[in-house]
Amino acid sequence: MRNLWTIAKREFNMYFASPIAYVVAFAFLLILGYFFVGELVQAAQFGGPPQATSSLGLFVTLVLFMSPAITMRLFSEEQRSGTLELLLTAPIREWELVFGKWLAAFGFLALILFSTGIYVLILNQYTSPGLDFGELLAAYVGMLVMMGSLMALGVFVSSLFSNQIAAFFVTMAAQLILWIVGFLTQNQPGPWAEFINYLVFSNHYYDNFHRGKFDLTDFTYFVSLSALFLFLATRMVESRRWR
């Protein structure tokens, strides 16, 4: 556990030593801010109160397209530069390494997510009698667990490639597929369609969390997906010893 924390701490600090993290954070905040203003203007024009989840705005979409940049280097860079050999000959276990890296990536993305807190405060000022914070909490928890599984997917893909760009695009493609895989099977009967519909990421987020409902099924879905990808990444790193 101690090693996990050591790895996570280093990895998290490294985000602030490279320009990628700043670029990603900047792009996130710029687009989020722009759309937030848009939402407010729209709400003002139609006279109704803005939705509580306006603070999250396009966050999901941005995560899908930009979060691969946060995970792409985690293992790819270590493989390319050979530092993985250093870590794997130090007395640490593979899962500590994998979970540590995941925790750092998750922490960094969570930091960006929490920066939307400023919009929550602004919204709270604009609306009367204020926001329903319970609803908002559910949306944020849902966002966090979903981010966790996307980061886990990114860690796994990064462990497959020694090229960051490859890791980036494969992660993005995988995330998008998970997002839209229900496109064909929508409203189709049968066990297969049901299964695929169950896999769809967006359903698990939008159906409940985004509407302010905390749903244990969706929560479990994201947590088990994170566990699965982290397990696969661990096996992948371990397999380096055997090949």
């Binding site: 530092t83 000959t89 090949r243």
Partner: protein
């Protein structure tokens, strides 16, 4: 400290390490010599627990590298080839990180100590990416020494260092080798000759020869060449020399100059000198050309050299991929 038995490692079809057996004792510096792609790096990676062998076993610091890998890794310091480091960290950040991974008590003190040891303290806050090759090598070495390892394994520790730095690193290795076990690989034979108590020459994953550098010199390459110069044209001396026992061949180079090849074993110079003097010639020069480890090495790996150079490129890529 290191006990290797029948170690075999294959990458697909290619056998990188073939039935290797050797050992290294406490307080011993063992040199691992061989052409590129001979299996040096692979063997070291097995010893450090980075990869398992296909067959055989390796006991390092009393633990099996396969079944007790964590125990081994706690006791081994490793300097990988090309010294992989994090360029975006400062020297002290990096060493502190590695010390934390190793759960060292009084981490900061130990990091300072090690930086003093390898003379990198004045660059403690420099980013590793900005350091020269020699300095990076020292950072790698500092990392390997952090936890006072019982066994220190270094892959090409002298690579890319200038002569002065090499001298410093050699001295450091000698100091460490007094009470720890050091295993280093090199393709520069002079280094092995100078540093190591024992030299293991491997080629194509197999041990070609294993002995102390001195004994290798005297036994295998005891046969050497002697240059002889006498006053005048030395007519008739050739026959006298050819009559002497223990020589492999004699030929006249120019007037008064001879090249004598000797067999391994006794020194033939006194006999030659006597033959020259008693024959009435004036001896001007008698010089033995000592065969170096370099020649032994070339001799031992001779047949393979041609194929090896062809293979070397594939081998390098194959090893890097793993």
């Amino acid at each position: 400290m290191i006990q290797v038995e029948n170690l075999t490692k294959r990458y697909g079809e290619r056998v990188a390490v073939n039935n290797l057996t050797f050992h290294a004792n406490k307080g011993e510096i063992v040199g691992f010599l061989g052409p590129n792609g001979a299996g040096k790096t692979t063997t070291m990676r097995i010893l450090t627990g980075y990869m398992p062998p296909n067959e055989g076993k390796a006991i390092v610091a009393g633990f099996d590298t396969l079944t007790e890998s964590l125990e081994v890794r706690q006791r081994v310091g490793y300097l990988p080839e090309n010294v992989p480091l994090y360029p975006e960290m400062t020297v002290v950040q990096y060493l502190d990180f590695m010390a934390e991974l190793r759960h060292l008590p009084k981490r900061e003190d130990r990091v300072d100590e090690v930086m003093e040891l390898v003379h990198i303290a004045e660059r403690a806050d420099s980013y590793i990416g900005n350091l020269s090759k020699g300095l990076r090598q020292r950072v790698g070495l500092a990392q390997a020494l952090l936890h006072k390892p019982e066994v220190l394994i270094m892959d090409e520790p002298m690579d890319g260092l200038d002569p002065q730095q090499q001298l410093a690193v050699k001295q450091l290795i000698r100091d460490i080798g007094k009470d720890q076990t050091v295993m280093l690989s090199t393709h520069i034979l002079a280094h092995a000759q100078e540093l190591c108590h024992r030299v293991i020459i491997i080629n194509k994953g197999q041990i070609v020869v294993e002995d102390s550098p001195e004994r290798l010199n005297s036994q295998i390459a005891g046969g050497g060449r002697i240059h002889l110069t006498v006053e005048g044209d030395g007519t008739g001396l050739l026959e006298n020399l050819q009559a002497l026992p223990g020589l492999a061949g004699v030929r006249a180079v120019t007037d008064g100059q001879f090249l004598i090849e000797t067999l391994p074993g006794a020194d033939a110079r006194p006999a030659i000198a006597r033959a020259v003097i008693s024959g009435g010639w004036n001896l001007l020069e008698l010089q033995r050309e000592k065969a170096s480890l370099e020649e032994i090495f070339l001799q031992l790996t001779k047949e393979e050299i041609a194929q090896q150079t062809e293979q070397a490129d594939d081998d390098d890529t194959a090893e890097q991929e793993t």
